[in-house]
């Protein structure tokens, strides 16, 4: 039997983040001497399947490429609710409460309501999806997500024929998320959206884990979206609300800079960001003096998703 105790930690016992990071640096520096050869270069991330031992690999997983080492993925997240600095977000996100995660389903569906993540997971067969992840900032990773196709969840909610778009909303916890507290930069909470056909595409995944383990808080726990053919900002973290809408909603980055971040945000090397090229990308964990990877249309998933956009001018609908 597991007895859960709700101990509160007095403020005096919480390590000052600065001291914490200094300690980490010292430990890192000490370890660097002994672990250096393994810490540099293309070391494939070993999947530690402690949480889900019998998980099956989804057929759309890529296997030609090596995984990005997990420690790099855990320390390189754009989580602007916490910090504009990727490394700082890792530490600050640990304050997030992810127990008893609830998702509100609303809008054009037959079964709206508040759903416990636990209950959703009971109905879903978890799989591993090894996907490329391409950020709009022109860096990329290869990540083994653990999750289920969003389509399988949508089926259980019985969408009406009027449901044309799916809107996702991230968690709003201003007491824990410093940039929400001071209303910095973006409109909070963070929102994203997909067209319904994009949302039910078999590549679109709701993830609860990565590298065989539970999703780290900085990587979007408890539940996040993964859309591998779009720029990373579409793959919204910490989803607490999913709405089915008749019309396209205004999403966070698109509202912030509509000329720079389109609604579609499909990875496309032929459409540069207004201020920088999207022709190539820096793959994390590649060594010094290694050429950048040439970015592929739809991030290499064109054969799966190009038909969704067959009649669209991708220069215009960027």
């Amino acid at each position: 039997m597991i007895i859960k105790t709700n101990k509160t930690i007095p403020a005096s016992e919480i390590t000052d983040p600065l001291i914490f990071s200094q300690r980490r640096k010292i430990i890192k520096a000490l370890l660097a001497g002994t672990l250096l050869p393994s810490a540099i270069g293309n070391v494939s991330g070993k999947t530690n399947k402690s949480k889900w031992p019998d998980i099956i690999k989804n057929e759309n997983s890529i296997d030609s490429e090596i995984l990005t080492p997990v420690n790099l993925v855990k320390n390189y997240t754009n989580y602007y609710e916490f910090s504009f600095n990727k490394e700082d977000s890792t530490e600050l996100a640990q304050n997030l409460k992810t127990d008893n995660w609830t998702i509100e389903m609303a809008g054009e569906i037959e079964k709206p309501g508040h759903y416990q993540l636990e209950d959703i997971l009971k109905q879903q067969q978890l799989q591993e999806f090894v996907y490329r992840f391409r950020c709009v900032e022109a860096w990329s990773m290869v990540i083994p997500w653990v999750g289920f196709p969003l389509a399988d969840l949508i089926k259980t909610l019985k969408p009406l024929s009027t449901a044309k778009f799916v809107k996702f909303t991230s968690i709003y916890q201003p007491d824990i998320m410093p940039k929400q507290r001071i209303n910095a930069m973006l409109e909070w909470p963070y929102t994203e959206a997909l067209r319904i056909d994009e949302a039910v595409h078999p590549l679109t995944v709701m993830a609860v884990g990565m590298y065989g383990d539970v999703l780290p808080k900085q990587n979007g726990a408890a539940l996040r979206l993964v859309v591998p053919w779009k720029y990373g900002f579409k793959s919204i973290k910490a989803v607490v609300k999913i709405e089915f809408l008749k019309k396209a909603p205004l999403t966070t980055w698109h509202a912030y800079a509509p000329m720079e971040y389109g609604f579609y945000a499909n990875v496309n090397p032929a459409v540069p960001h207004p201020r920088w090229s999207q022709f190539s990308e820096r793959q994390l964990a590649s060594g010094y003096f290694t050429p950048r990877r040439q970015t592929e249309l739809f991030n290499g998933y064109a054969e799966h998703v190009a038909s969704l956009y067959s009649n669209m001018d991708l220069q215009h609908f960027y």
Partner: protein, 213 residues
């Protein structure tokens, strides 16, 4: 004034190399985070901008403190700005792009923020190659005109920095503030000198901006 090679000169020139040694130490100890190539790039860019600001600060500090010794080191600080900017450029071309010229060409063409980096570096490069005494003599009066372009270089460097960010502009705006302050100081001195010479006040002491080297 002749450049004297004394203890202070040696200490300062070695001091200017500390950021480089610090970076090398971080590289060998794998202390640059998940994207070390970008981290190197940012670090070198930061230091070239810092040395540019330091170079620009020499004359204002000297005027305010009446301490003449600093101008001896202005050339050296400027050359270190050029040194770090050169490493920044080489890092972009060879560490990040591994000398793949076709991709580099597309990257520069499609990235307006890089154009400002190119402008900034071109100016610093011209100033560095005209830095020796021989070049200064050859250029005569034009030397000073040319070397005032350092302000354009600094402003272009800040735009280069600012324009690539998604929104958090604190750092580039910090440098921009410093540059505006330094440039504002020069404008004030210029205005004051003009006023003084117009009034022809006999006792009016001209605040000098002349280089003492």
């Amino acid at each position: 004034m002749l450049m004297r090679i004394n203890n202070a000169w040696i200490v300062i020139s070695i001091g200017c190399l500390i950021p480089l040694f610090w970076l090398l130490l971080d590289i060998v100890s794998d202390n640059l985070g998940s994207n070390p190539i970008q981290a190197i790039h940012i670090r070198l860019g930061d230091w070239s901008l810092r040395f540019l600001c330091l170079t620009l600060a020499v004359t204002p500090i000297q005027t305010m403190t009446k301490w003449k010794g600093m101008s001896d080191y202005r050339q050296m600080l400027g050359l270190y700005a050029f040194f770090y900017a050169t490493l920044h450029l080489l890092g972009y071309l060879f560490i990040d792009h591994a000398g793949v010229w076709q991709v580099i060409g597309i990257d520069i063409f499609e990235s307006p923020y890089i154009w400002f980096g190119v402008v900034s570096y071109t100016i610093v490069f011209l100033l560095a190659i005209t830095s020796p005494k021989y070049a200064k003599k050859q250029l005569g009066k034009n030397w000073k005109k040319l070397h005032r372009f350092i302000y354009y270089s600094a402003v272009a460097a800040v735009i280069h920095y600012l324009w690539q960010l998604k929104g958090n502009l604190f750092q580039p705006l910090f440098y921009l503030t410093i540059i505006i302050f330094l440039l504002g100081f020069r404008v004030l001195v210029w205005l004051k000198n003009r006023q003084l010479s117009k009034l022809m006040v006999p006792k009016g002491r001209l605040v000098t901006l002349d280089d003492n080297d």
